[in-house]
Every structure is written in C-alpha cells, then in structure tokens.
C-alpha cells in the first residue's frame, strides 16, 4: 500500500530537478505585436526629428480620405488592405528615415500574407486606387508633410492593431 506512494514521491522529487517545458503560443500574434511596436517607435523617432510645432495639425481626419484614418479592424482581410495602402504611400516617399519604416511594414505584410494563404482568405480588391494615385501625384513635391501625415495615421493604426490581435484569427 505504501510502496506506490513512496515510489511516486521519489519520482516527483526527481522531476523537480527537471525544467518545465513551456506551453506553445500563437507565434503570429506575438510577432505582429513586436513588429507593430517597433514601427510605432520608429515613427515617433522620425517625427520627432522633424521638430514640428506641437500646435500644427497636418491633415484633418476629414481631409485626405485616401490615406486610411480611423479605419475599423475587421479581420485579416481588412488589415491587409489598410496596410497595403500605407505601404503604397511610403514607397512614394524619398529615401531616408522613412525607408526603414517601409521595410518593417513590408516584413509585417509578408507574415500576414502567409497567414492569409494558410487560412485561404481571398484578398480584398483595393478601393480608391485612382484617388490615391492622384493624391500621391499631386503631393509628390511635398514629401515631408505627406510622410508626416501617413506615418501619423499608420502609428494610430498600429496601436489599434495591437489592441485587436484577435482579429488575426478570422478572414
């Protein structure tokens, strides 16, 4: 009667010397969160170098609807569509500090695209393509404020994405 109890006690004592095996988590959520935080920090650093007056507000939310502002996050498809729009704008900016942010965003898009493929989600057709092109064409000569506006809206979207990582589970 006592033998099994003593044997189990010995086994448990031996097991206490062994490290536990961590539980596996959703890697994509953690990866997206880390990348989003990195992008946010880079944007803050970039815009701080511009040293704009804190009273200046470039691009009222009602203005320039071609650049996503306050976009709701409704699944992986909408996230991809919004991020693709941001990337299109960043690619039009001249080389500089925003280039690194563009690279980070491309990497994030790559991971999300893989997830979409594995979940067999169909990509969303980009809307307002011509309007965005017109906007970019017109403001190509104003890269500083254009970059500031798109990065500011991208930062807000990244923050919203961090708070809605569960949306990555659905198309």
């Amino acid at each position: 009667m006592y033998f099994p109890a003593l044997l189990y006690l010995c086994i448990l004592s031996m097991l206490s010397l062994v490290h536990g095996i961590p539980i596996r988590q959703d890697n994509l959520k953690n990866l997206v969160k880390l990348q989003a935080k990195t992008i946010i920090l880079r944007i803050k650093d970039h815009n701080e170098k511009l040293k704009l007056s804190p009273k200046v507000v470039i691009g009222d939310p009602e203005l320039y609807p071609e650049v996503p502002a306050n976009k709701p996050i409704q699944g992986l498809r909408s996230i991809m569509d919004t991020l693709n729009t941001f990337q299109k704008v960043l690619q039009k900016l001249p080389n500089g500090h925003a280039s690194q942010i563009c690279n980070d965003l491309s990497t994030l898009l790559g991971h999300l695209k893989e997830r979409m493929t594995s979940m067999r989600c169909t990509p969303k057709e980009p809307a307002n393509g011509r309007s965005l092109d017109t906007l970019l064409e017109k403001n190509a000569t104003h890269p500083v404020t254009l970059g500031y506006l798109v990065l500011d809206r991208l930062k807000e979207f990244m923050q919203k994405l961090i708070n809605n990582l569960d949306q990555l589970k659905s198309c």
Binding site: K51, V56, P94, K138, V144
Partner: protein
C-alpha cells in the same frame, strides 16, 4: 473654286484632335483658371467645351463652353473634392473632337508662387488661397519650416480667401512656408507648402572618416534641414587638397558634371553616406546639393584626403606584467594599415580600486612598449591602449580590449608586507599564539590568485596544512589549485613547499547528495515492499510439498498426476468437514509386542482401525462424508492410492518437550496449504517428525511405547528427509506426532504440554480426536471406550514410511 478647295481640305482632315496639356493656375485673387493647349499650333478649333464632375461614375457633368480661347475660370469648385475635368474642341466645320484625357484636381490651399528662388537678404512674398469657403483669410497663420510662427505683422489679407506673408531669408538654404487656419489653440494645415530656395552655400558640417583602418572607404555625415532633400556629390582630384581648395576659392569654375559622382545612398532625407573604392592619397571634393534648387543651393564643399581621415584599428595582442622593481611593463602590436608612424596612448587602473577609480593615462608613446613606474609592486592593473597618426591629421582609434597585468614572481619578494604582531602567551598550556595583521594583501604563491592570508612557519607542519585549508576555503575557485609556500626562517629562506588544495563545486555536491538520498529512499522502499510485491506478483499457489497428501510426489511426472487420480470415475468430491460436524473416530489398539514394519500389517491395522471405527462409533453426521475414513479404507496401499493411507499412532512422550511446543505452535498457526516460503519452518505441517513412522509408533522402544518417528513434511521430506532418516535411525529418537486440530475452541498449543503424559502409557491408542491424547495423563488413558464424539478434525494424510527401527 477657292471655297471648294478649303472645304476639301477640311473634309480630308477629319475631326480635330482633343486638347492636351490640361492644367490649372490660381491667381493671387483666388481665381482658378483651367487651361489647355491644342495638339497643333495651327489648329482651327474655335470652340471648346469643358466638362467636370465630382463623381465620374454618375456622369453628372457640369458643362462650360468657351469660344476663342483656351482657358476658363472654374470658381465653383469646392474644396477637398476630387474633380475630373475634360475638354473637347470644335473645328470650323463643327466637328467636335473626342474628349481629352481626364484631368483630376483637388483644391484645398494653393500657394502663389509655389516655389521661390531668392537671394540672401531679399524679401519674399507668398500668397495663400483658401479654397475652402469655411476658412477665412483673416484667420490665416503662417509657419516657417513648420516650427516658427511668423508674426502677424508680416501678414496681409487680400480678400476673404487670400492671405499673404512677406519674409526675409538671410542665409542660403532651403525653407518652407505653411499657411494654416486657426483652429482653437491649434493650427489646421494641409500637406502642401511653399518652398523658398535661397541661393548660395550653406554650412552642412560634413565630416568623413575611414573606420577601422578600412582605408578605401569613407563614411561622411552632415547636418541639414529636415525639409530639404539633398544629394551628396563628390569629385576626385589628383593634386593635394590644399592646392585644390586654394584654386577653387580664387576662381569660380563651373563644375564639370562629367567628373562629378553622386553617393548612391546619400540622396533624400539621409544624413550620412559611404564612399567606396577611394584612393587613399587622392583629394576628394565633397558637397551637398538641395534637390529642386537647380544647383544653386548647395553646401560648402570639403576637401578630403582619405589618408587624413583614417580612424585606425585599436592595437592588439597586449601583454602587461607587474615587475618586482615596481614597474608595469606593457607591450602591444600596432595595426598594419595605415603604414604611417603612429603614436599611442596608454591607460591603466588598479584592479583593487573602487568602481569610480580614475584611469591613469600615459601619453604620448612612440613605441609599441612602455615601462611605467609604480608606487608599489605585486599589484595587478587593467591596461588599455589606443593609437593614431603621429604626424598629420587623423582620428584616435578606439581603446583596445582590456588586459589584466600579470605579477611577475621569479623569487620571493624583496620586501615583505607591512604588518603588526600580536603575541599571546598561554603559560599554562605552554602555547604561544602569534597573530599577524597585514596592512595589504600579499601573495603567497606564484599564481595570479591573490590570497588574503599568509602561512606562518613556526616549525610545525600542522600549521602549514591548516593555513592552506583556510586559504582554500576562502578561495574563489573550484577544482584543484596548487599552492607553493616559501618558508622564511630566522636564518634565511627555506625550500618551497608545494601543496594541492581541492574544492568542489558546492552546487554539484548538493545535487549529488539529493540524488543519493533519493536513491537510498527508493532502495529502502523496494526492500520494505518486497512482501507486497510478492503478493502482487506471485499467485497464491499452494506448495504441494506442504500438503500431506502430496508428499513425495513429483508433479512434473505424468504418472504422478495419474496416481493422484487413479479412478476413472473420479474421486468423490467431498467438501471439507465443517467444524461442527463430527467424523468417525478411529481407535487403534496396539498390541504389547512390537509390530513389524510391513505394509500389509499396517494395512490390517488400518483396516482394523477402520472397522473398529465403523463399528465402535456412531457419531457420523448424516451429511458428513467420512473423508478421512474413506481415505483410510481406500488407500490401503501407497501404491494404489494417490491419497496416502491414513495411519494413526499414539502420541508418545518426547525428549524435547520444548521443541514440541514450539513446533506445535508453528503447526497451529499456519495452514496446511500455504505459500512457498523460504522459511519453511513457518509453514504448517513443517515440524520435526512430520512423517509418521509406523514402526516407531509401534514402540520400537519399549520404554516409551508412545515414541513415534515423524519427519518434516516439507524440508525433511524434500531435502533432508534422508538426513533425518539417518538421524533418527542412528539416534533412535522418537519424534512425536501431531494432529492438526481445526476446532476453534481448543488450541493445540495447550495440548502439547500434556503430551508428555502419554509416554507412560503402554497402550498405544490412536484417536482421531487427538485432544484427549494431548490433554493430559487422564486424557491419554485412552481406550476404545473413550472415544470423543464432539470434536471433528481435519486429518492430514500421511504416507507410510518404511524406517528401520534403531
């Protein structure tokens, strides 16, 4: 004729081409003028039609017709709305062209002019038109470079939608103007801004260096406005930089653009760029140019010779030794490139010092070695070295990797440490304690390890060992360490003594201790639970050797099995007798003369007994099966019956009453069919003389008619039966017989003691109910008339054994 010719030409030309070059301008009054051009200069178009829509999919067009000119004011457009505009023309012969390519426009704030080229000190006036009707020019706010709000004194309100500002830029460079709308405490601005290019050269603080002795590449950094997009340009000269700079400062030469190169990664918003594939001894002119400035806004150039801007690699392979003569000897190896002469700088710090101890710097050093005078010897230092060009411009290298100096001890220190001595004498015990208090740490052996104690030689070996043990216990090492002691006596220094101290990793010992403890616990548990395991693992299989009816049988033999069950009709399955059931009593009356050891006689006796039993007693229960009786009658011979024939004998007095008692106890306390046990003495039926000897019980010894020989049913029968047989034969000791009484009321142990009384009886009477035999003398006066009717017994079946009487 002429008219016909014109008509013919017109008809042959067909419809006119649609207009091209659609664009718009905004006037200083806030008017939007949409303009276009004809495809050909000599176009005969006379009428134009303009259509615009805010949503082309709905095809809700606004139409405007224009005659004789190629522009039209569009003042009805709303701000912030994307319009698509198209134009077509009509020829002289009323043929309309196709609609032109769409032109998209969105109006918000327009700057006039959008770009301004000025010179330092000139005034610049810029107008801003608010196309948003809700924005008023009276609330316009102008920002310079998005940072500084221009004073309102420099503003001018042209009309409700137009504001202007006048600024003066003093320095060459690039600046921006943003016209925002006051919105509470904040300023609402748009993406667009006006650009001011002030012609001239500005100071960009361009610095270049070749890092880590990679002399064919150079990294250049600069300062610039966050709004300016620049390009880094450079050009190579074969002359000396001093010469080139003088020439260019005196003359204004147009740059030969064919020789100018651009740093590929330096354009845009960057502030650094790396030039590659450079010539170490050439001169490079490097400058910045603002994009869109038409080459007129640029930075001051720098003339750089890569050889003068090298940051060498730090020195390597440092070696440092603290010498006994209070010097620190340091040597190192310089980088290979550049090949020019170098100077060095050395810094060192005492390892014993606190965290905020300052470095001591020795500079300049011209050789790759140095001897530094110290204040004391036997001290370790952390040493670092760096280098730079000796003659000419350059950069200091980074500090080398730190190196800890070794203490050189070729012999005993020339001077000992300072200490205080405390002497305590104990005259009672004759012991003198000498305590030394040292001022500083001292070395006691030739290794790098610094000890905090010193072994004192007073002529006794045990002092040496204790001291070394103390050292090893306070040491910070694991494993073995060799110590060397240099004894110093009054008359000189003695021979050095070597000692090896070991120290184990306490953590490893603790782990081993835990494992050993758990192993011991497991082993003890296994031992303690051996019986438990046996019960779990082993089936409760009866040992046939313990069964009286199976004695002497080899179950591996088929014959044995057959002999056990000889009758085809099978044996009668008789249940065990219940306690309350009575069985027949057998009474054996022995004749006074000894009986020969013949089976037949035994059989007769058995049979007689059986007859007597059947005739003399009538105590059989109705349902009881006289199992034992049948066995006794059926098993007339050992050969014919698998069941041994029942042979009863009287219990004779034994010479070893104590042994009897003990054996009887073991008999009563165990069952006849038990486990196989190593200790067969505990098993029932295991008692000395378990096997009856018929001959003996027929009184081989007349003095003790009740002697009977019996053998251990298990041990002696299987292994030692021969020995016991010989023993009994030689000694003639009669062993007593024991009955297994299943009656719960009485115990056999009690009756054993009374067995002794039976020796005196001459008549050997065997009763089935052994109790009367065992109860005492009176009870042993048995005869056929004293048959017990009350106690049923389970009678072990014993085989007869032929034993020669002593």
């Amino acid at each position: 004729m002429l008219v016909l010719l014109v008509n013919f030409i017109t008809i042959s030309r067909g419809r006119p081409d649609p207009p091209v070059n659609l664009h718009y301008n905004v006037t200083a009054e806030g008017e939007v003028l949409f303009k276009w051009s004809d495809t050909q200069p000599d176009s005969d178009a006379i009428n134009y039609e303009i259509r615009y829509s805010s949503n082309s999919s709905l095809q809700q067009w606004e139409m405007v017709k224009v005659k004789g000119r190629s522009w039209v004011p569009l003042n009805d457009l709303s701000s912030g709305i994307r319009y698509m505009v198209q134009v077509r023309c009509q020829s002289y012969f009323h043929y309309w062209s196709e609609w032109s390519q769409p032109f998209y426009l969105t109006l918000d704030v327009s700057y006039i002019p959008a770009e301004v080229f000025t010179t330092p000190g000139s005034k610049v006036t810029v107008y801003a038109v608010f196309h948003n009707r809700s924005w008023s020019a009276s609330k316009a706010v102008w920002m310079l470079n998005g940072q500084v709000k221009i004073p309102e004194s420099q503003y001018r309100v042209i009309n409700e939608q137009v504001s202007s500002v006048t600024v003066t830029v003093d320095e060459p460079g690039f600046d921006t103007l943003m016209c925002c709308h006051q919105w509470g405490e904040r300023f609402k601005c748009i993406i667009a801004y006006a650009k001011i290019y002030t012609e001239g050269m500005f100071n960009a603080d361009i610095t270049c260096q070749s890092k880590n002795s990679v002399v064919d590449t150079m990294s250049c950094e600069w300062n610039k406005s966050a709004w300016a997009q620049v390009r880094l340009l450079y050009r190579q000269y074969t002359s000396m930089c001093e010469t080139i700079s003088e020439i260019e400062s005196n003359e204004e030469n147009e740059e030969n653009m064919s020789l100018v190169k651009e740093c590929p990664s330096g354009a845009g918003d960057h502030r650094e760029c790396t030039l590659r594939n450079l010539s170490l001894f050439s001169c490079y002119k490097i400058w910045l140019e603002v994009e869109g400035g038409r080459g007129k806004v640029r930075s001051f150039p720098v003339y750089v010779a890569p050889i003068d801007h090298v940051k060498p690699s730090p020195p390597s392979v440092l070696e440092a030794t603290t010498m006994p003569n209070k010097t620190l000897s340091v040597s190192w190896r310089r980088p290979h490139l550049p090949v020019y002469d170098m100077q060095y700088e050395l810094r060192f710090v005492d390892l014993r010092g606190m965290a905020n101890t300052q470095w001591k710097v020795i500079s300049p050093l011209l050789e790759t070695q140095a001897e530094i005078q110290l204040e004391e010897s036997c001290v370790q230092f952390k040493v670092e070295v760096r280098c730079r060009r000796l003659n000419g411009t350059g950069y200091w290298s980074d500090w080398s990797m730190s190196y800890t100096s070794a203490v050189y001890n070729r012999k005993a220190p020339e001077m000992g440490p300072d200490f205080w001595r405390i002497i305590q004498e104990d005259t009672a015990r004759g012991v003198t304690n000498v305590t030394l208090i040292f001022k500083d740490d001292v070395y006691v052996h030739s290794t790098q390890l610094q000890m905090l104690a010193v072994c004192i030689f007073l002529g006794a070996c045990y002092l040496i060992i204790q001291c070394l043990s103390h050292l090893s216990s306070n040491g910070r090492f694991y494993g073995s360490e060799e110590f060397t002691l240099y004894p110093v006596f009054v008359d000189g220094e003695g021979e050095p003594v070597r000692y090896t101290a070991t120290r184990g990793d306490p953590a490893a010992y603790i782990l081993l201790l835990i494992i050993a403890f758990l192993s011991v616990v497991l082993f003890v548990t296994l031992l303690m639970s051996q019986n438990q395991m046996r019960k779990l693992m082993w089936k409760d299989v009866p040992n046939p050797n313990n069964c009286s009816w199976a004695k002497g049988m080899d179950f591996r033999q088929i014959d044995t099995m057959e002999s056990l069950f000889p009758h085809s009709e099978g044996l009668t399955a008789c249940p065990l007798l219940l306690v309350s059931e009575s069985i027949c009593e057998v009474e054996i009356i022995e004749k006074p003369h000894p009986v020969t050891l013949e089976h037949e006689k035994d059989k007769v006796l058995m049979y007689n007994s059986g007859d007597k039993t059947t005739t003399g007693s009538a105590v059989l229960a109705d349902s009881s099966e006289p199992l034992s009786l049948e066995a006794s009658t059926a098993a007339a011979t050992p050969e014919t019956s698998g069941q041994s024939s029942v042979t009863y004998s009287t219990v004779l007095l034994s010479d070893q009453p104590s042994l009897l008692r003990k054996q009887q106890e073991s008999l009563s306390s165990s069952s006849d069919e038990g486990n196989f046990s190593a200790n067969n003495s505990d098993i029932s039926g295991s008692f000395p003389g378990g096997l009856w000897d018929l001959e003996n019980h027929v009184c081989p010894d007349s003095a003790n008619p009740r002697h009977s020989s019996s053998y251990n049913s298990v041990e002696e029968f299987s292994e030692t039966s021969d020995q016991d047989y010989e023993a009994s034969e030689s000694t003639g000791v009669a062993k007593d017989l024991y009955y297994l009484d299943v009656n719960e009321e009485e115990k056999d142990e009690e009756e054993i003691e009374e067995t002794q009384g039976e020796h005196e009886k001459k008549e050997i009477v065997m009763r089935v109910d052994a109790r009367p035999l065992l109860e005492g003398k009176n009870s042993t006066s048995v005869n056929s008339n004293n048959v017990s009717h009350s106690i049923p017994l389970y009678l072990p079946q014993f085989r007869t054994e032929s034993i020669n009487p002593p």
